[in-house]
């Protein structure tokens, strides 16, 4: 099983969500984070202009069985991108075990 963490633009979220849904990735969790990356945004507050690379992003945490990894990645790469700096990153790591709290069952079945 893999954990796929994607850090994407907030504005791309609903598109991504729907695309994931279409390829059968219905289960995940997300929250908002601030990201520091290459992108810089210029702002003005009370006459002080400043450029910040602290930008609001949405962080998706998707745990999938190995056979779903590729399609999830493909979907994310396709729908989350705009081609401009700041589209975000995806990180993949290993998950040793998963449990479904409701039933106590464990293993890949819980992700279906």
């Amino acid at each position: 099983m893999k954990k796929i963490e994607a850090i994407i633009r907030k504005s791309k979220f609903s598109e991504v969500k729907e695309a994931l849904h279409e390829v059968g990735v219905n289960f995940f969790s997300y929250w908002d984070v601030t990201g520091l990356g290459n992108e810089k945004v210029g702002k003005v507050y009370r006459g002080v202009s400043f450029s910040t690379n602290d930008i609001q992003r949405r962080h998706l945490s998707i745990i999938v069985n190995d056979d779903f990894e590729q399609i999830t990645l493909d979907t994310l790469l396709k729908t989350a991108s705009t081609g401009e700096v700041g589209d975000g990153k995806i990180f993949v790591s290993d998950i040793l075990e998963t449990y479904r709290i409701r039933t106590g069952e464990k293993g890949g079945e819980t992700l279906k």
Partner: protein
């Protein structure tokens, strides 16, 4: 007391109630324009201003201001004012005094010791402000005699509060992180909706502030006067907001929300001195001048003087208070420069404006310096970073 006088009392009372509400406006503006971790502390400081103003002005401040004049400079103080038939005036004057005290709190927000602030607020209420008022509103003050005009207090209330705020902000020093390598950093306010609501409440209260300063409502003259005052007040506020909006749009490429809100207040402060003495057109122009100047002043104080005033109190109340006072000499229907009145009124207005600025700067400097040397002005670095709410009041204002 005849019907006219009773109607006058009614108007003064209603105006006083409106001015009272400005406390909520100040609190919201200051809370909204600063960071969430200090919101509770700001609430407490504003409450303290109201407490100290209410008690202190009754206990002694009112007579310092309106007591029999000692040399045109100060009233003869007496304790615990209790002239029954004059209590409604005391009420009206009390809420004014609370306003003067409150102006400072925004400028020193986010880093000042609570105890220190209470002491300063008390001194403003019972010494600095009442003496300011005495010079002009008591009737025998030295500025009254010169023919100085400050109808509702651009100089007496706002500039005094604003210049004291400048000294406070300067001596307390900027918030940690406000200047990096000498360059001003943005520290965005945490809730501009509160700020906007605050400004609308202040705008509302200002109808009482300026309108009530007519101190009468018993004759056709009063009706005309108050009608004009309200229109002037409203036009100046609108013009000030419009000016700041378009000026920031031009200058920064985007209409700046918090500056536009300051612009409305700038218009209001600017018109306060002359609201009963200028035409509607002049009021609108004065509002525009105030609205542009406040933006320039905020940037200047922030980036050039490097004095950290989170809410723009110095620019709004100090700069525009002084501006409005002087502009009376230019725009007054009677005696104003552009209305053929020559420069004499203008001269008097400049003298008065400078006198109040000097008075406020000097007394605030003395008081804050003493406080700095004794109780200290600032909280510790740790407390400041953590936020004053947790450090001084045990808990933050926002929870689940």
């Amino acid at each position: 007391m005849d019907t006219s006088a009773i109607m006058g009392a009614l108007w003064i009372i209603i105006s006083g109630i409106l001015v009272f509400f400005m406390q909520a406006g100040f609190t919201l503006v200051e809370v909204g324009f600063t960071r969430s971790k200090n919101a509770g502390n700001i609430i407490m400081k504003n409450l303290m201003d109201l407490i100290v103003g209410s008690i202190g002005f009754w206990a002694i401040g009112y007579t310092v201001m309106y007591g029999e004049s000692i040399g045109g400079f100060i009233g003869t103080p007496s304790l615990f004012y209790s002239e029954g038939a004059d209590m409604y005036n005391l009420f009206f004057q009390t809420v004014f005094a609370a306003t003067a005290a409150t102006i400072v709190s925004g400028a020193v927000a986010g880093r000042t010791k609570f105890t220190t602030y209470i002491i300063f607020s008390f001194i403003v209420t019972v010494v600095i402000y009442p003496i300011s008022g005495h010079w002009q509103w008591q009737g025998d003050g030295w500025l009254t005699k010169l023919g100085f005009i400050d109808f509702a207090g651009s100089a007496i209330v706002h500039s005094v509060g604003g210049w004291a705020a400048l000294i406070g902000a300067m001596l307390v020093g900027p918030r940690i992180g406000k200047y990096k390598d000498g360059i001003s950093q943005a520290i965005p306010g945490h809730n501009i909706v509160f700020g906007a609501l605050g400004v609308l409440i202040l705008w509302l209260g200002w109808f009482g502030f300026n309108g009530g300063s007519q101190l009468a409502f018993g004759s056709e003259e009063d009706v005309i006067a108050v009608g004009n005052i309200l229109i002037n007040t409203n036009l100046a506020a609108a013009a000030g907001a419009a000016a700041a909006l378009f000026y920031t749009w031009l200058r920064y490429g985007q209409p700046d929300i918090s500056m536009t809100l300051n612009g409305a207040l700038a218009g209001l402060v600017t018109i306060t001195a002359g609201c009963a003495n200028v035409s509607a057109g002049s009021a609108a122009i004065m509002g525009v001048i105030g609205g542009v100047l406040v933006v320039i002043a905020i940037t200047f104080i922030d980036e050039k003087l490097k004095i950290d005033d989170p809410v723009g109190a110095v620019s709004v109340h100090g700069v525009c208070g002084t501006l409005g006072t002087i502009l009376v000499g230019v725009f007054a229907t009677e005696g104003g420069l552009i209305n053929g009145g020559g420069a004499s009124l203008l001269g008097v207005q400049v003298i008065g404006a400078l006198a109040y600025a000097g008075w406020a700067l000097a007394t605030a400097f003395i008081v804050f310096s003493i406080l700095k040397a004794t109780v200290g002005l600032r909280v510790s670095e740790k407390e400041e970073i953590e936020g004053l709410d947790k450090a001084e009041h045990g808990i933050g204002v926002y929870n689940d």
